[in-house]
Symmetry: C2
Subunit: 375 residues, 2 copies
């Protein structure tokens, strides 16, 4: 095989497929990137068996061929080369990489044990802008459970109902939901996608509003196609939780608050919380103002924020991190909190109320924490 590729193209391609190279594995072939220039395209492929990424890069194929190469070593070498054309030549498993006056020799692998991406039939399809998909992922993914043994909670629900696409993540203490309405209708599907896959995809997506990402499902796999990249992931099996039954639409109080002020305040409060502490932030809602209090082994904090309140007074406690995550996932200057009781979930949402929101609809549910009343 002999290829000539601009360094920048090679770096971009490696950086895309490297997202599917596991950081720790006992199977050394999984640490490899396959360079496949057999069929007229230069493809880079990596596959950790759960997530596989393939991308086509520009360049000249002087002699066709393919070789697998350790991703870390290959990536490090290419990144450090001068910004110029890189020549990659293989002779058996020997690889020489030449750029300007610099020549590297490393060993590759024939890659007979390398797993290519599974074929996903393009029956069920939806199309989203890269921007929309990236936003939906990054604004829900923090609610995916990080406990690997928690099954479906490690994934997100992607639900398509005609024109509506909804993504849902939950970890047992909170639920994060984003919804968009598309121009086209796509039928009805529900799949559960691994959180790890979504995180990696969100990092590769350009976030461009004019570029499209096509998504295809089969019963077992999901395929994302965008730019010259294909990402295939195994789906999580099972029937996802019945989310709609958890979303109440009746409430005892609504609170309109400046998002950044509340965020800054709770952010300060968390300074006093040690990992093991799990101290709640106590929110005391009154007419026109909200008092936030925290009291830990390090010290105490007390702050008052102006609000617009409708309904009853209420004292409610939260894990401060969950409130911070939800407030950070929103762009609005003002958010509305919907409260039922100190023992019932609190909602930060824009999908109910008089006006239809522009852009994405969101609904963040946070379970409260019991607390002993202070002073």
């Amino acid at each position: 095989m002999e290829l000539r590729i601009q360094k920048a193209d090679l770096v971009a391609g490696i950086s895309t497929v490297s997202r599917a190279v596991p950081s720790k594995t006992t199977m050394s072939i999984l640490e490899c990137i396959m360079i496949d220039a057999v069929d007229g395209d230069i493809k880079l492929i990596a596959n950790d068996m759960e997530l596989g990424i393939e991308t086509i890069i520009g360049g000249e194929i002087v002699t066709a061929g393919k070789i697998a190469v350790n991703a870390g070593i290959f990536s490090n070498i290419i990144r450090k080369l001068p910004d110029n054309e890189v020549k990659i030549v293989t002779e058996g498993e020997k690889i020489s990489i030449t750029c300007e006056n610099s020549e590297f020799h490393i060993l590759g692998r024939s890659g007979e044990d390398f797993s290519y991406l599974p074929v996903v039939e393009k029956n069920s399809e939806i199309k989203l802008s890269q921007y929309t998909l990236k936003e939906m992922i990054t604004r829900t993914i923090f609610s995916v459970s990080s406990n690997e043994s928690s099954g479906m909670m490690t994934g997100e629900l992607l639900e398509v109902k005609e024109n509506d696409v909804r993504m849902v993540a939950l970890d047992g203490h909170r639920i994060s939901i984003r919804k968009v309405t598309l121009d086209e209708a796509y039928g009805n599907f529900k799949v559960i996608i691994s959180g790890k896959t979504l995180l990696e995809i969100s990092r590769i997506l350009s976030g461009d509003t004019t570029k499209v990402c096509s998504i295809y499902f089969t019963g077992r796999h999901i395929l994302f196609e965008f730019d010259s990249t294909r990402v295939v992931s195994r789906l999580i099996e099972g029937t996802y939780y019945n989310i709609d039954s958890m979303l109440s639409n009746s409430y005892m109080a609504t609170v309109k608050v400046n998002r950044q002020k509340m965020l800054d305040c709770i952010d300060r409060a968390t300074l006093l919380v040690r990992e093991e502490d799990k101290k709640p932030i106590i929110v005391m809602i009154r007419d026109g103002s909200m008092e936030l209090k925290i009291n830990t082994s390090i010290g105490s904090m007390d702050e008052v924020i102006d609000i617009e309140k409708n309904g009853e007074d209420m004292d409610i406690g939260f894990n401060p991190k969950f409130v911070i995550d939800a407030l950070r996932a929103v762009d609005d200057d003002e958010v509305t909190m919907y409260l039922v009781s100190p023992k019932a979930p609190c909602f930060i949402r824009n999908d109910i109320g008089e006006e239809k929101p522009e852009g994405q609809e969101y609904c963040y549910l946070i379970l409260p924490i019991n607390f002993v009343t202070v002073d």
Copy 2:
């Protein structure tokens, strides 16, 4: 005590003195910053017993007093406050910190067991610009030994000979020297300053060419005074190595090379070196060109760079990291290497030769490594 201080002033002061707060200690008083507003100035002080830093910050003293407070907690709280005036009020060991609508309560300490900075008599003095001092430190400190048991090698020699100030760091494999000539003559001194102290000072110094740093010595301590900050450090005792006897002025070859090209090349070569490997980079010096080779368990690299050579051909091996450190410590586009033999130190220096360099004189000595010839 009651103080009113602008948040930005407080943050700057805390960040300066925090450099003398040890990250790990069993003595909790060492983790404290002393806020001393007894004598009309607001002083922040930290002292880990080897290095002490005191800085005066602006603000209003409503009621005089002093208190010691955990540096980490205090720093975190202050940094997260709104950008406005901060009110610090103590009542016994209770501290309340108020800024806008936010109020924190933490516990301080009377600080009776806090060690103030030792008094350093201002007999022997030198004055340097902050820029010059910062440069001399950052461009030699990497050669200080990181092995804490290696005594004087963990420090740097500061040598004053009338108008000449020289700083020297060595670790047994290399020596780094920087020298400046000052307008004023200051007599003759030699002290050994802890590398840790120098590193922290280099981080606090503004690097401003118009601002002065005064340095005072006694037999046991050194005092740096700059801006409104004083840094006191215990000196390392002993007689430093006789450096001048190690610097040869006769050589068999000189090589003029583009610094960045050589740096990039060796930087690429180190990709192939694993921590435990200790493989040398082999430099093959010929008329008009220098070939750099490395051969490790990961692969091999070969690169040719144009040079101007005088004297004999030579093949010499180096620890690539040491060459990189020296080349990075220099700004010149072209550097000159002075070589004696493959078994003798190589010098990268501008302090010999026809022309007197502008700015600082430098001399970097690197011991070669034996190698088995490859080809």
